[in-house]
Symmetry: C2
């Protein structure tokens, strides 16, 4: 018998399932809208159907011992419970791993989406060969998952990785979370939009539009990204200094700004950390896109 | 047979040895000047003599399976090598664990002093009952050791815990390390002295003198400690957010300032972190003094 794997990336708008060969290639996949508002039981029914469709494609000598699913947090990895995610409205204390397990007749493990993506990029993507890695998602919010010696760092309450709200400026902007000088208040999508609109007195609605403006030579847009990148780089320096992490994989909508954001971030790292540490720091962009979550959800930590 | 323990805290000026009962009480101790300039071999000779003197006090049915020693870093815990500590002049790549082991005829393990103190406070002192803890030494420098689920967090190169040089202010003071806005540039002993002397145009030489001035009503001295405490509190908030740590044990000469430093640090934590996290944060002062290092050095992590 050969051991195959199956991963599901359950997102706010769609879920994506992948059948994974023993060599960790996604050889078959399907996806569909999550329709979170229809409730968790209906979603579990539909995901189970898609999972069974993939299992039916297994070769004769193949077996799957466990299905991995990742979803937005907060969730409880140990019990497989989705707690109350802002992005899955109405899913409150849902034992989703158990619900899916009952429907497909296999054990199911549940993981945070950022942690699953980090496992995926670490083993199969931009983090290959690293000893320690943080995946930083820079989108509407900024979050992270950290791996040290190839293992997820979870913290005392499985709540580690709130990098978006570490303080990089004691007297910086008040954040949407209520605290002050958070890196998210500089480099999160809404912060970038807000800084640009304040300065230009416009009403631009997305960070993507400001990326286009910057690429067209808009100096205010360029300056907003320099400011965002500097703060992000200082946060990366903090992770490197505090947690001895050397590889940083960036992910998320704001990262599409590319060098507008990455260049000032890279410049900031040696400014805000020791040379012995900053010389080890590598900042790269995620390689796997959505596959990171599918592969990482299916990965079982020893 | 009963299992006893023996720990040695090797400091820049003195070393302290303790014989530890199966109940983890230090029942006998001795200490002597380190005399680092005489070289590591001579120090190993003298420490071995003190260790043997303690071993000779063991009851008949007692045994010791390993001796633990802690020293200033940088050092290599795995190989037992002291690398090149600024506080042990001339000790460059010294295989100190092996040297001591040859002299006493028992295995010897070597640990960073901050990590040993953290283990001591976690198991026997101010961190008892915590699930996750950081010991933060606030003295000339600021360093930390972190425990998560009762285990030391080491990082990829055993270099985790450089909390003194995380950035709390993008445009803050240039630190002695060359980077900018480090918490040490606000709350380290020399930063406190420097801030006070600049403002008062005096030449005070120690943070202790500024503590006395603050307690005598000197408003500049009080303000310097408020500024230091705020930065320290922001750094603690960062550790809580990023690493999901809830118990903070403070240690070191600047902590003798007491509430002058601790009150603004405690006030800063909810200002610079989420309520769900700051409500769990407990900031306390170390209880064990030098015994933390002796007990922690002797503690063997499973």
């Amino acid at each position: 018998m050969t051991n195959w794997h199956l991963g599901v990336d359950l997102g706010a708008s769609t879920y994506k399932c992948g059948l994974i060969s023993p060599e960790w290639k996604i050889v078959a996949r399907n996806e569909a809208p999550t329709r979170a508002l229809d409730g968790a039981a209906q979603a579990a029914d539909r995901i189970a159907e898609h999972v069974r469709a993939l299992i039916s494609q297994l070769p004769n000598d193949a077996q799957i011992s466990c299905i991995g699913i990742c979803s937005p947090g907060p969730l409880d990895h140990k019990t497989g419970m989705i707690v109350d995610p802002p992005n899955l409205t109405g899913w409150r204390n849902v034992p989703f791993a158990q619900m899916l397990s009952e429907r497909v007749g296999l054990p199911v493990s549940l993981e945070h989406d950022a942690k699953a993506a980090a496992l995926g990029e670490f083993h199969f993507g931009a983090g290959r060969g690293a000893t320690s890695m943080a995946l930083i998602i820079v989108g509407t919010g900024i979050g992270a998952a950290m791996l040290v010696d190839g293992k997820l760092y979870r913290g005392a309450h499985d709540a580690a990785g709130e990098v978006g709200h570490i303080t990089v400026d004691l007297d910086g902007p008040i954040c949407t979370c209520g605290s002050q000088g958070c890196v998210e208040a500089y480099a999160g999508g809404p912060a970038i939009v807000n800084a640009y609109n304040y300065s230009t007195r416009r009403g631009v609605e997305s960070a993507e539009a400001i990326v286009r403006a910057a690429n067209d030579g808009d100096e205010i847009a360029q300056r907003v990204f320099r400011r965002a990148g500097r703060a992000l780089g200082a946060a990366i320096a903090t992770l490197a200094m505090l947690n001895d992490i050397d590889t940083f994989v960036l992910f998320g909508s704001v990262v599409k700004a590319g060098e507008l954001l990455l260049a000032p971030a890279r410049d900031a790292v040696p400014h805000y950390s020791h040379k012995s540490i900053s010389s080890r720091v590598k900042i790269v962009v995620g390689e796997l896109g959505n596959d990171a979550g599918i592969l990482g959800a299916a990965w079982e930590e020893k």
